[in-house]
Structures are given as structure tokens and as C-alpha cells.
Symmetry: D4
Subunit: 186 residues, 8 copies
Amino acid sequence: MKKTSVRTRVLTGTVAAAALAAATVGAVSASAESTDTPAVPAAAKADTQNKNLAPSSGLTIDAATRAAQAALDAATKAGQHVSVAVVDRDGVTRVLLKGDGAGPQAPVSAERKAFTAVSWNAPTSELAKRLAQAPNLKDIPGTLFLAGGAPIQSKGAPIAAVGVAGAPSGDLDEQFAQAGVAELAK
Amino acid sequence: MKKTSVRTRVLTGTVAAAALAAATVGAVSASAESTDTPAVPAAAKADTQNKNLAPSSGLTIDAATRAAQAALDAATKAGQHVSVAVVDRDGVTRVLLKGDGAGPQAPVSAERKAFTAVSWNAPTSELAKRLAQAPNLKDIPGTLFLAGGAPIQSKGAPIAAVGVAGAPSGDLDEQFAQAGVAELAK
Amino acid sequence: MKKTSVRTRVLTGTVAAAALAAATVGAVSASAESTDTPAVPAAAKADTQNKNLAPSSGLTIDAATRAAQAALDAATKAGQHVSVAVVDRDGVTRVLLKGDGAGPQAPVSAERKAFTAVSWNAPTSELAKRLAQAPNLKDIPGTLFLAGGAPIQSKGAPIAAVGVAGAPSGDLDEQFAQAGVAELAK
Amino acid sequence: MKKTSVRTRVLTGTVAAAALAAATVGAVSASAESTDTPAVPAAAKADTQNKNLAPSSGLTIDAATRAAQAALDAATKAGQHVSVAVVDRDGVTRVLLKGDGAGPQAPVSAERKAFTAVSWNAPTSELAKRLAQAPNLKDIPGTLFLAGGAPIQSKGAPIAAVGVAGAPSGDLDEQFAQAGVAELAK
Amino acid sequence: MKKTSVRTRVLTGTVAAAALAAATVGAVSASAESTDTPAVPAAAKADTQNKNLAPSSGLTIDAATRAAQAALDAATKAGQHVSVAVVDRDGVTRVLLKGDGAGPQAPVSAERKAFTAVSWNAPTSELAKRLAQAPNLKDIPGTLFLAGGAPIQSKGAPIAAVGVAGAPSGDLDEQFAQAGVAELAK
Amino acid sequence: MKKTSVRTRVLTGTVAAAALAAATVGAVSASAESTDTPAVPAAAKADTQNKNLAPSSGLTIDAATRAAQAALDAATKAGQHVSVAVVDRDGVTRVLLKGDGAGPQAPVSAERKAFTAVSWNAPTSELAKRLAQAPNLKDIPGTLFLAGGAPIQSKGAPIAAVGVAGAPSGDLDEQFAQAGVAELAK
Amino acid sequence: MKKTSVRTRVLTGTVAAAALAAATVGAVSASAESTDTPAVPAAAKADTQNKNLAPSSGLTIDAATRAAQAALDAATKAGQHVSVAVVDRDGVTRVLLKGDGAGPQAPVSAERKAFTAVSWNAPTSELAKRLAQAPNLKDIPGTLFLAGGAPIQSKGAPIAAVGVAGAPSGDLDEQFAQAGVAELAK
Amino acid sequence: MKKTSVRTRVLTGTVAAAALAAATVGAVSASAESTDTPAVPAAAKADTQNKNLAPSSGLTIDAATRAAQAALDAATKAGQHVSVAVVDRDGVTRVLLKGDGAGPQAPVSAERKAFTAVSWNAPTSELAKRLAQAPNLKDIPGTLFLAGGAPIQSKGAPIAAVGVAGAPSGDLDEQFAQAGVAELAK
């Protein structure tokens, strides 16, 4: 992709709409939900010169899936029925797996543990201890201060997290979550 | 697992609690979330003689993951950025994948398309046509009448569904969803 | 992954749609909400050979209703005004009864107690004690750690639960819930 | 406004609290959720002389259960898998039954159909026709304008409603709902 | 209103629809939202012979408004800025007043205090004390265990409640709520 | 109240906290919910010289209550069972009345009609017509495009609105809402 | 109640609709969302003579933005990644900034801290201490009792609040929030 | 999958926790909410060699604020009272401004328009036209198909969007949104 000045790179919506209209002629079907996004890596490479933009990194879906699968496999090997979630730095779920035999409370628990781990960049077993000092942290919407969430980091910064729920103890859940994190270091 | 009479198989909660208390002595850690469920297949086999119970079938997490992955792979091969969901007959999400570059509207769209497909046992492209006759069907909570959802059936009954969202057209989304369904017939 | 001959059993959505279209010619009325599901037992019997599927068991609506009614009858006999819920292993309500004179807080309390009991496979009176070790368990959405919920088990695994709310004490509520569970052992 | 001698009948909360405190000494257990309501019929009889109160009527739980069961039986006899709800004049669910094989969309559909029928005192098949004139009625929260809801009346006033969902057509659903209503006239 | 047999009093929805259709010819405007309910007291009088129905009593809107206004006046006289809610036995709000200068947290607090008071038939100052024994009572949706809610009773049974929020202390709030309850005894 | 420079009038929270701490010594009871707001009119008068602040006007609770009562009285006189809501310019409910015999759909309908009227400064009967040109306006959360909402204006600007719901037609509802608006012009 | 001559100032909705209809001829486009409100200050000036209205004051968007920006700048200078919210006296968000690198839990935390500060007119670090006496205050919807919220006052009354979240300690968050409040005193 | 040397870059959660514990000794105050994220740009630069990660770009808060302010200024210059939102590619709000005099429906409308524009990479005026072909697109949660949203693009890919609501027409709203987008090209 050629490098262009900031002005042409950051198009106004009007121009974009025109381009899109052209692009979709004959292609938009009766249930059109297009995004038409170019490949994300390509776009990001050139953006480093756009002063309006800050680069960031996120797990690929391939990596996120491997982490989730590794966590689930660890649980299955231990004879436990769990759910596993991988959420990104924005708290958005990238992967959710409800394992065989996992209870109805497990998926949302897994997501919230992961959300909590990525928000504070620490395993939820550690974060649960902080409640002794700041008990109302747990009133923040979307959080769950139970062992079972583990952050995935890149140079120390949280970029995602794995959450596991359903084992007889949070410590077991977190052990499985850590197996998911460890998978990415292989 | 030995077969026992109905009376001993369907225990009262009191007895169950006692059993559980025994089982968890020394095992329940500080974040106990136990379910202690025996292997699901084993339990179900014996249940056929319990008149209180009806047998049913659901996708294994392994099958659900393969279906979701196949749908995502089909989309990726076509250069599309999508989210994929597999929901079971109860409308509960078993697998959710938010693919690279998929928009923020995609995960919930995928889940709702799958929910809709499993609820009425038909692809959502077909179901969307029914709105001509019954336009208010789409007001039922949790549904989305856009192409992209495809049921997974066992002997004609819906046991799960695959939902895909994010491609420029619902027809493309549904093509990917069908690739997920087809994976299970291999 | 082993390939199994399930081609004819697990149809793709496309084929299903065609079958459905045929089946519904002349039959779909102006408010069509069809499911067209064959009898569940029949489907499940054959599924034991489909490697993509795991068999499971759930209460029949007849059993669930008997359990709920028995719990309500026990409460009425004791002069208490309660609500009763029976939820399945997925946490979905199968039966809800709001008894005469039950307060507005009772139905949702009954459902949550049952949800909690089926999630951890123990009476909620037992589960409430676990909060001493893991106080944040009660922050999991959908749960309520008050006596009054009792699991229904099959070979030790939780397949459903009865929840009761509205009596002057949770112990009374749970006594009624256990009466519901006991009904199924008759 | 006329002053009436209701001092002894309408107690202040302070006095009530005292009475309650006395009543519950030694009785309130660790999970107390008491209501301590005297029998509803007794209270209502005397209330006709209290100018602050208006008498009303509602289905007994026994009648509501019979209506729901009759609707479900009618559906089962017709080979349909449905959910049934009975809601009272306040739109509160008194009975909910999720029948065997009913889809995940069925329970909430049944409740909303019943809510709609009791709100406008007409079967939802009739109400759906009104949308031709007032299309935005269907945007009112909690409503669903699909055939399948039928009001239960007392001297022409709506006191409850039965809602059914899950059959291949709303007309079938409403036929089953009417069977529930008819049961109460026996 | 003439007394009729149960059969004709509890009409099926089909008949009701027919009657309604006749009644609304030429009268239903473009935004029809009819209920067409006959006067509630009249209907209720005759219902005492219908075995499907249980009589109950609720505050008239006139009484509910007087109670709310009296509570607000008491607060204003004391120089406090509060919100006041009156909810019925079903937990439904009959009157809500957001007084001048009341904070954004006050209306929902007032409603929840009233909901709590009517659910357990006691002032919330009393109910808050019960949490020492049953701390998880406060996890029931819709409740708020803060002083400021007072039940309105008829022969000891809760038929409604007044909730007040916004004063510097819950004790003050409850004093105003009791002024509302007391108004109905005049 | 003395006039002070901007600096002393807009205190930092730290100073405010100190003042508050002093003010509440010995006064904060066990359920403290203080706001400690000085009289609103007094504060607003002096604020006209604070460049950070913009003056605005809102209905007093007395005026809002009179408007709501007038609307309800008009409905009652016409033999209709309705709910009435008065919302302010921020869309916050100031008064809600659920009249005798009003259906469960009425309160939320009344609030949404009022919300819609105050948002676009026109009666909802007029606004409903605009949907012909902009049909998706009705998808904005909190709105309801049904006749029955009427704005209350001050020099042409919307400062509040009255919403009514429950009569057999929206035109009737709006007639009652206008009676509420008209009351304020007396 | 005194009758005042506000006939011309408080118009009925009918007249307003007529005026609006005239005003929008030729101007309402296909996506009309008009408010047509005259300048707020002008309207407010004359309102002081309307007995139905109470004057109030709120931050201008300019002031609110300056406060939020000052809080964010203070955090950035300290090397912290935070979100900042400014809410008005009605609890409505006027400004929300999600700073670079702020976690997913930060925006809602910032809003709730500000909501809490404006509701009780005190910094949330002070309010958190009050929970020792009234622990259930924190169950009021929309609140968060964590340091980081600071009220903006006018003559002692709360007119808005700044909330900050994301720093390693609530004390730091509140320091930044106070920097936002202080900006308005410049 | 190729194994890459990312051991030191992608730490396991356990190691991360240890690092964090060290880092926060003496620093975590009573309301600790730390994230401790290193500067985002630094982290991202090195990540280009981690095969688990995909680089992406987002607006800086500075750019997002400038865009929002430019949109608001354009509206103010045109005499319109609006709300402005800037959301990122994940649909998360980065900046929200509720302008002076904007109605209560405006903030959520602005956010949803921006969400819609970023989801499909086109102005909402264009997207609204697509409903002619795919009317149910508008049922996707979080969307609003009204003119007023405009995408911000980088090399054709959507990285954020500006949404505006409150002007008398969506066309005006979108003109202001485009002014916000254009600001970033300066």
C-alpha cells in the first residue's frame, strides 16, 4: 500500500461513502452488512506517521483461540468442567468456550474474571487480596474478584486476559488460565 | 457406573449436600466454585430408565469448536472479517470467536443469528422471508432475522446453530455458517 | 479427529431449509413461529452413535411441574405464601409458580436460589456457608446465596433444582424446596 | 376528602414493626425472608369499608395453574412443543411452563403475548391487526403483537391472560391459549 | 351489575375479541391503546362467588397520592430535598415524586426502599437490622436495605409502602415516610 | 446570601469536604444519605455572574404535580383508566401516577411519550407523523412515537412534558395530556 | 395556589405544535430530529417571573470540557492512564474522556464516581468512609464508593462533579479530579 | 504453528503478578485501581515481532477530542444544540460531549450513530439507504440508522467515527460530524 500524506489517508466520511458506493455496486446482497476493511496489519504499518493515531497491539484470533483451547485442555485433563474466556484490552470477548458439563454460571464468570485481570494487569487471585484495602473495587460493573483470571502481557502491559470458571476452587481455575497464558510463550 | 433404582438415583438435596461436604473436606480452597459433576455421558446412559427424565443430545465442545473454526476459516479464505457463534438448543453460546478485524456489531449479531436459527430450525435467510407474513416475529427478544445463521440438526431436530456476521452481505455470512455446519458431517 | 458417518444424520442447514420449505407449504399461517421438532426421545436415542453429540438428561415438564407443585403444597400446608421455581442444568426456568399472597421479591428470589443450587450442585443453605471462604462468589450474576434452593440430581450430577422464596426464614423455604425434590423420588 | 375511622385498620409502619419484632422473636432464622402476611381473603373482606382501598380480584394460583396446564395439554395433544405463561392484571407472571422440546425463544414470547393480551383486553391476534392503524404500539416495552395471547376476563374486565408460543403458527398458539382460558369456565 | 354464572362471567378470549371488535367500530383512532376496563370496584364485588378468583385490596390512586404528598410535605417542612415513592403489593410504583433539589440517586432509592418495605412488611430500618443474620437478603433484585421505607397495612397485611430518599439520614427519610403512612389513618 | 468572587463561589471538593465534615458532626445517623443542598433559587440567583454556569429553569414539583393531577382528572372525568408522567428537560421523571385500573403497559408508555415530547418539543401526535420521513427516529432509546405526549414550554423552549397512556386511543391520551399542560397556564 | 399571568409564556402543546409545523416547513429533512430550542440563557432570564418554574444553574459545556481536560492533563503529567467524566446535578454525563491506555473498567468507574459525588455533595473519598455507618448506601444503583469523585459547587450546592478512574490508587484519581474542579476557579 | 522466541515478551500471569507485587509495595493506597501500563507506543513498537500479536491503530485522545470539539463548534456556529460522540473501532466511546441545550435523547443517539458508522465504515446517511435492501440490519443492538454518523478512516479502514445528534435534521447532524472528521486532516 502506498504511503500518502495525512490528508489523503484520513478521508472524510463523504469521500469514504463515495468510494464504498462504488465498491459495492453489484456486490451488496439483500442482507448487506459490509465492513470492507483492508487487512489490519497493512493499515497499521503506515499509520506510524499519522500524528492522530497511536499504535497498539492485540492478540490475533489464532493466538486467542490457542490460549483458550490450552486452558480448556488443562481443565479437561484434570477432570474439571469449565468455561474459558479470552478478552482483549478493551474488555471485549475474543473467544468464549463453554466446556462440556460446565454450569450455567461459568461463562459469565469466566468473562468477568478475564475482564478483571486485564483491567488491573494482575491475576484475579492477587486482585482479590486488594479488596482488603479497597473493598468497593468489586462494585465496578463487569468485574469479578475470584481467582481464575490471568493477564496476557506484552512488555509488561496487559493486552488480553484468560478467564476460567467452573472448577471446585478458584485456584484450580487460575491454574488452567495460566496454562492458557503459558501456551502463548511456546 | 452401577445402575440403581430411581429412588437412590434421584437424591434429595439434603443427601447431596452431605455427600458434597464429605467430598470437599480439605479440597475446597478460598475461591471454591465446585460443581463436582460426574462425566455427563455416564450419567445420561443410566437415566433412560428414570421416568422423570428425558434424554437429549447436544454438541460436544470439540464438535462446536470445529464447526466455529471451519466457519471462520471459510470467511478468512474469502478475505472477510467476521465473528462466529455456536449456540445450543437452549440458546446458550457454546463457542464465540471474534475474528481479526471484525466490527463491534459482529459478535452479538452472530449470536443472535444462531439463536434465531436454532429457535425455528431453519437458516435465517429462510426465516427472514417469513417476516412478510409475520412481521412481528422479529420483536421476540434475542432474535435477529438476517442471513447468516444455520441450524445443526440431528435427525431433523435442531440441536445447535452456527451464526456468522461481518461480511459485506448476509448471503456470504450464511455461506460461511454452512461451512461450519458441513464440517460436522465430515 | 475421526471421521464418522453422520452425513445423513447431521444435515446442513441448506438441506434442512429445503425440507422445511416443503413441509410448510400451505401450513405456515400469518404468525408462523414453527419449530417442527421431532419428538426429543426419538432423536436422542439414535444420537448415541454420533461422535459430535453428547447425551444428557433433563426433567420432563411433567416431573418439573410435580416437583414445583409439591413444594408449593408443602408451603401452603405450613401457612406460608411463597414462589417456587424449577430450573434446568442450563439455568433456564422450566416452571415458575407465584403463589397466592407471595411478595414481589419472591419469584426472582426463587429462580436465583434454584440457579445457584444447580450451578454448584448443593443446597443454597450449604452454599451460603462457603461464602466465609470465598465471599465474592455471590457477585456472580444470577446467583443468590440464601437458603431455599435444592438440587435435583441424577447419579450425583445436578440436572435441575428447586428454589423457594417467601417464607419467614430461608430454612423454611428450603424445607419446601426439599419437599419438591423428594416428590421425584416417589 | 372525608375522614374515615381507619386508625386501627391502617397501622403506621412503626407499630407494625413493633408487632413484627414481637412475632419474630425466636422465629427468624439465619436466612429470614419473612412476609408474615395474614390470609389474603380475610384481609380483603374487611377492606371494603376502608375508603383508601379499592377491591380487586386476581386468579388464584390454583386457577392459574389449571389454565396453564390445560393450554400445555392442548398443545401436547396436537404434537406441538410450546411454552405457556399466565400473567396477572399487573403484568406479573403467575405461572410459567417451558414444555418439553420448546425452543429458547418460547418462554419470553409466551410471557409477552400474555402481557399484551391483558394490557389491551383482547387476543393478540386481534391486537396485531390494530398495528395497521397504530404501528408504534408495538414499541411499548414488554409487548409482543403475535397471535398466541388470550385475556381472562371477569365481567368484561381483564384480570389475567394466557400466552402460548412455540407452535408453527400463532393461530395454533392462540388456540392452545384459548383452551387454557376455557378451562376456567368449566 | 347482575350476577351471572361462572361460565358467562369468565369469557373466553374469542368472545371477548368479538365484543371488543363491535365496541370499537368507529371509535379506535390512529393510536389506539384501549383497555376498556369496566369500573374495578363493580367488577370485584361480584367476583366473590367465582372460585377461580381471590379478592384483594389496593390503595386508590387518591390515597396513594395523599400519602406521597404528605411525605413530601413533611420533608419540605424539615428543609429536606427528597424523592417519594408509593408502591403497591406487587412492587409496582403507583406514585413517584422527585422533589425540588432532590439528587439523581433519590428516585430509585425511594422506589427500592418502598419495594423492600412492602416485600417484608416492615420498615426498612427494621429490615436493615436483619442483615446481621441474613446478610445476603440484600442481594435480591429490587431491594434496598436503608432506612426510609414504611409499609402501609390493612389488618396487618402489607398492601403498599412509602419510600423516601434524599435527607441527610435514613432516619429522617423514614420519619417522612411514616408521615405519609399516617396520613391515611386520618 | 452574599455575593462572592468566582474563586470562592466554586469551591474545590477538598474544601467542600472539610465544610461538610464539620457540618455533619453529630448529625449523620446510621443511614446517612445527605445532600445538604442550600435552597436552589438562592443559589441560582447569584450564579448569573459565574461564567462557568448557564441558568436554566425547570418545573417546581408543585407545578409538575398540578399538571399530572389535572391530566389524570381529565381522564377520570372521561371514564378512562390511565397513567400520567411529567418529565423534565433532562428526560427525568418528576411525577408518575398510575391511575386506578390502568394497565401494566401504561406507566412506561406515559414516561416514554413525555420523554419524546420534551426531546423534540412537540406533541407526540405530531412527531409520529415525522416518521413518514425519518422512520428510524423511533429506534432512539427511551422514545415512543404514539399520541399522548405534550411539551410544556417556556418562551418556546421545552422545559418539561406530560405523557398519558391507557385510553382507547392516543388522541384521547393526548387530550388529557394537554389538559395537564393547560393547567399551568391558569 | 396563586394564579399568575403565564398564559403567553407557558404555551399548550397544541399551539407549540402549530408554531413548530410552521417553522419546519421546507426545513425538515429526511432524518429530522429537531428540537428548535431558543437560546437557553434568554429563556431563563424571563422565567424568574413564572411561578411554575424554579431557576437552576448548570455548567456550560465549555466549563465542563475545561474541567475534564484539566483532570486528564494532571493525570497525564503524573504518567497515569485514566478516564474522566463530568456529570451534572441530574447525574447526566456532560463530558466523558477515555484517555490513552485507560482500561475498560475506567469510563464507567469515572462516571459512577462523579455520580456519587454530585449525589451527596462530597468527594467520594469522604463518602467511602460513611459506609462504616451506613454500609448499604453502596447498593444504590449508579453509585461507586471509591476515591476519585469530586463535586463542583456553587454557593455550597452541588451543580456537577468530576470523576476520575484508572490510576493505581483512588487517592491519585481524586487528586486529578480536584485538579479539574480547581480549573473552574481560575 | 511456528514456535517463536517470545518467552520474555509474553510473560505468564504468574510472573506478571510477582513483578506487579514488587512494583506496588508502598504504592497501593486504600483505593488501589492500578493498571501500571507502560507507555502504549513503546510497547507496540516491539510487538511487531511477536507472532501472537496484530498491530492496530486508534485515535489518540487528543485527536478524538479535537474531532469532537470541531463537530460541536460547527453545530454551535449554526445555532444548533447537539451532543457529539467519538467511538473507536471497538465501538467504545472515547469522547462524549453533551452540548448546552441538547435534549435527553441526544447523547445516546450520537453514540449509536458513531457506533453504526464505524461498524460498516460509511456515513449513516448512506447506511440508512441500505435498509431498503436489508431492513433488519437496524435490529442489531447498539446501532442507529439515522444520518449524523461519519467514519474516520486510515487507508480506507475504519478506525473511529464521529456521531452527532440534536439538530433539526440528520443531514445537519452529519454535516457537523463531517466537520469533526475533517479536523483530523488539517
